[in-house]
Amino acid sequence: MKTKNKIRVLIAKPGLDGHDKGAKIVALALRDAGMEVIYSGLHQTLDQITQTAIQETVDVIGLSIMSGAHLPISEKLINMMKEQGLDDVNLTVGGVIPHQDIPKLKEMGVAEVFPGGTSFEDIITGINNLFE
């Protein structure tokens, strides 16, 4: 576990989906687990999310997607992160994610996927494990 520095997480809402309760609740859970959390607010473009990640020097981007657009959004963001040299930033995705899409997300480079119903404990452990 990363003990020396706090893990910095950007919780981000990409696209047009306005359902932000999940993102906000996960943000609070991660904060309570000792992480530093930045919340993007609604309706962020992927460019805005990448820029926020750079400026806030985060270790993790946690996307919250309920609209079903997780595959194209994640793929595009991963490419943009590569272009910006964010190689040491982990991308995680949560929300309404069908189980059959999890291997596809992992294959494109998403570090962890937390579909609806995942416990806070599993999300916290999952993120901590990225830094072991």
């Binding site: 047009l16 306005g18 309706h43 079903g68 959004i73 309404v96 609806g116």
Partner: protein, 418 residues
């Protein structure tokens, strides 16, 4: 044990029950409870179809007409949506409740960069009048009314609906549409708003004014407690905030020199059914009563029909689980039972697979059949408001009324659900 609070003794027997709205439930109820709550027959209950409409809006209620079934439908292209509309209507559904995708809801064309990945996902994509024409082709728009579940751009959708109907040969006097058009609840509970508050509300006012003058069968706004509830509000808060939103729209239209009597009869509501059956029944009965009282006492509305709290009572989505999804079929049935015992005019259920996907034809039809069974098989049409006069129900309805009024005084708390 559900979302009410239960305190039990060491043997597991229930000692205390407290509903979300703060109502404490006793082990049994009798005449003394009604007396204590100040219950008066004429003032608090009355005959079916009579003010304050605690029992029902109409004297014969479901005996004269079963509820309108209006499953939320729409996905992919206008062609696919049209096909599903026709499937539902062929299977007995008698109203439409149209789902639009997020780019359409937010005013973007399908080829806008921000729309990437979202086109046709959570509803159908509308980019032009031609799309609208395709979606409604072959639907008898004089017989089937359509809820247009869209808010920030509701005025545009309303105009498209009228234009397409006229193209199909229906006059604007024949068609019935209910755009959701409730921008304040988007700001509180759902997030799909574009314009700032003042201009958002002005557009709602514009569409009410237009409908009053030009569209005699349409309901220009459907005020939604539903989404505020999905954001975490209690039943009392759900009704309280919806009523405060309704008052904001009334005030906007009144400023234009139009009297409440002339337009409040066109308001429709969209409320949530979930959680505890009895608390929900008390909520709907208290809401119907309070709305009528408020219009009469605060806005001077006198005509009976204009005091009606009309609307869609829809099965809530957040109670449905992704795990063991078949359980949602039964949950939906109990939500529908609660709506029927509350005298819902119009009903919709989330389908059992909706926690993780767009409903399949099978799941959408299961919801429709669930709604029909209550009316056709189980006996919900036998007598009007079968729970009326129950010591328990009448007592908690009065208590719910108090809770709603308390929450209306604390309306600024609505911001907490943002």
């Amino acid at each position: 044990m559900g979302i009410a609070k239960y305190i039990k003794d060491e043997r597991g027997a229930i000692k205390e029950v407290t509903y979300q709205s703060g109502i404490k439930v006793k082990p049994a109820y009798g005449p003394e409870d009604l007396k204590k709550a100040g219950f008066e027959y004429d003032k608090d209950l009355g005959s079916p179809g009579e003010y304050p409409f605690t029992r029902s809006l109409h004297p014969q209620s479901y005996r004269s007409r079963a509820w309108t079934t209006r499953q939320y439908t729409g996905f992919g292209t206008p062609e696919e949506t049209n096909e599903r509309f026709k499937l539902m209507i062929a299977n007995g559904q008698n109203g439409l409740n149209v789902a639009f995708d997020l780019p359409t809801q937010m005013g973007y064309d399908s080829d806008h960069p921000l729309a990437e990945g979202e086109v046709g996902r959570v509803g159908m994509a509308i980019d032009s009048l031609k799309d609208f024409e395709t979606a409604f082709a072959g639907i008898p728009l004089d017989r089937i009314g359509s809820g247009l579940t869209i808010n920030a751009v509701a005025t545009i959708m309303m105009a498209m609906y009228q234009a397409v109907a006229e193209k199909f040969g229906y006059s604007k006097e024949q068609i019935s549409t209910t755009p959701q058009n409730d921008i304040l609840k988007e700001m509180i509970g759902r997030g799909a708003w574009i314009f700032p508050v003042e201009h958002g509300v002005r557009l709602v006012g514009d569409s009410i004014e237009y409908a009053v003058k030009e569209l005699p069968r349409s309901n220009p706004v459907s005020i939604c407690g539903y989404h505020i509830r999905e954001s975490g509000a209690t039943p009392a808060q759900e009704i309280a905030y919806a009523f405060e939103i309704a008052k904001a729209y009334i005030d906007n239209v009144v400023q234009r020199g139009i009297k409440p009597e002339e337009f409040v009869g066109r308001f429709s509501f969209n409320f949530n059914v979930y959680g505890n059956l009895w608390e929900q029944i008390a909520k709907f009965r208290a809401a119907r009563k309070l709305w009528a009282k408020m219009l009469k006492n605060e806005y001077g509305v006198t005509e009976k029909k204009k005091l009606f709290l009309r609307g869609l009572f829809g099965g809530g989505g957040s109670g449905l689980t992704k795990e063991q999804p078949e359980n949602n079929i039964m949950r939906g049935a109990y939500y529908a039972l609660g709506a029927a015992l509350s005298g819902a005019q119009t009903i919709a259920l989330c389908s059992f697979d909706e926690a993780y996907t767009i409903p399949t034809p099978r799941s959408a039809l299961l919801s429709l059949r669930t709604l029909e069974m209550l009316m056709d098989e189980v006996g919900l049409r036998d007598t009007v408001a079968p729970l009326a006069g129950s010591y328990f129900i009448e007592t908690i309805t009065l208590e719910m009324e108090e809770k709603i009024l308390e929450e209306m005084k604390e309306k600024d708390r609505a911001i907490l659900f943002q």
